[in-house]
Point group: C2
Chain length 287, copies 2
């Protein structure tokens, strides 16, 4: 895969993290540091199952608001870990609106953002710390961006440990609010939740807490076409034996999209998760 | 996956080994310890690419005799690593016969068996040593069996480090020569190479060197139906985010086949490799 991509590649795979994605880092940090026993969160899936598992470990409960279009495997996982999956048609009612409704009914609950929370950034910073302490030097660390929780966490963790690696965000072209935000110098919001195949990046904007870190901490954003995301999934399958979900393949898609930026460099691609419906995966492999 | 299988499960994944399967352990050991500069070997694929890569590291050359029905990805890999892939229709001429032909033409070459060689057992023993030194205790270590190189290596390595784990071989029912050999008390040979989906187990019999270790060292053989092999691949995909080749999923298939044998035990499943054609993988996921 290194040879194919023309870089000195390291893959930081979160596909074997608890619940199969990096989201457990943040979910556990949030659930363990708040005093509330009940948590309400909006999530396209991975944060939901991570929070459900974290709550099961901590003997807390949670309600996860999910788009009804979420991967079935992610809905099932939330329920398996003992969480309540609250399915919402996001074309009719935004997830934030549904969370607000639930918050009125559960006044004792903590409303957890999947990304826009200092505790989320702190949880995800553990990955930046691990990369800084891995014994490898990186010119670039490339991570998927949706709400910005992962990339702001990585930036924070790397900085905390004195790493000079440039952090690049890989974003679906059809959900390019982070790229537009960086160009505009302020947070730009998508009108609706973009239906990119990278379902972990279907956020309308980055979070305020994340933006505070990203606006100066991010080296650049590479906008990745849907086809390149899928090609990333296929390359991870064929040349690295890694089962990645589409969002997790965004960094490989970024290397395919901007090869000149990374050529010959020491690049760490963060494969953020591996949870993908078999049917979606089959469709991607067939192309 | 532990919960689903009813055991305390550890997965020893060789899918991220050099060239994507355990075969590199043996190939490198052979290629580095012989004096010959040229190697001829028969392989359904994984040993071939492992040997080609080992030779490239050691500045040696190799010819790999492969069934023309081998996974395309494995043929390509042998060539990519600089090896010569010699494709043979095994229904017309056995691989052993083709190797003998080539041996006559290349008298300076070492004829490497993919399994029946003390150097192969020694190489694979490194996995048994790693399991013994992993800090975990196992009641059972379950490994796929074809020629017997892996299981005899694991038995040797475990014994060398004083482990008392029982080693169970997982074998395709339609290629059950090892099971029949254990029942008969001597090596039993299949008439032809069985066309199981577990292409790493398409051997006609276990090797003589392997049998010497297996006949007393193996706890039992579980015969796994094709459907259970595929279910093993799907479970590794869905519940462990592991991309396994069918042969690598044999141990999970064995747990599905003989649940009473393993229930509640500390079981280590060796996922021997991850190299599988996308089309085969898609077919398995669709069921």
């Amino acid at each position: 895969l290194s040879k194919r991509l023309g870089v000195e590649l390291t893959i930081a795979s979160e596909t074997f993290q608890h619940t199969g994605s990096f989201k457990f880092r943040a979910a556990y940090n949030v659930a363990s540091k708040i005093s509330e026993r009940k948590i309400i969160a909006a999530s396209s899936g991975n944060f939901g199952q991570a929070m459900a598992y974290a709550c099961s470990l901590l003997d807390k409960t949670c309600i996860i608001v999910m788009p009804s279009t979420s991967a079935q495997v992610k809905i099932d996982a939330v329920r398996e870990y003992g969480g309540t999956a609250d399915l919402t048609d996001v074309r009719v009612k935004g997830r934030a609106a549904r969370v607000a409704e639930l918050a009125r009914d559960h006044r004792d609950a903590y409303i957890a953002s999947a990304y826009d929370d200092p505790l989320v950034i702190e949880g995800n910073a553990t990955l930046g710390i691990e990369l800084a302490e891995s014994g490898r030097e990186f010119d670039y660390v490339v991570a998927p961006i949706g709400g910005g929780g992962l990339s702001s966490g990585i930036i924070t963790g790397l900085k905390e440990r004195g790493s000079n690696a440039n952090v690049v965000a890989a974003e679906p072209s059809m959900a390019n609010d982070a790229a537009r935000s960086l160009r505009a110098g302020h947070i730009v919001v998508n009108d609706t939740e973009p239906q990119t195949i990278a379902d972990g990046a279907r956020t309308v904007s980055v979070g305020v807490n994340n933006w505070a870190v990203l606006k100066d901490g991010l080296s650049s954003v590479v906008e990745v076409a849907e086809e390149k995301i899928k090609e990333g999934v296929r390359l991870l399958f064929s040349l690295a034996n890694i089962k990645a979900e589409p969002t997790g393949a965004l960094p490989i898609g970024a290397l395919l999209t901007a090869p000149h930026l990374f050529h010959g460099q020491r690049v760490c691609c963060v494969v953020s998760g591996g949870n993908v419906d078999p049917e979606v995966y089959r469709m991607i492999l067939s192309a």
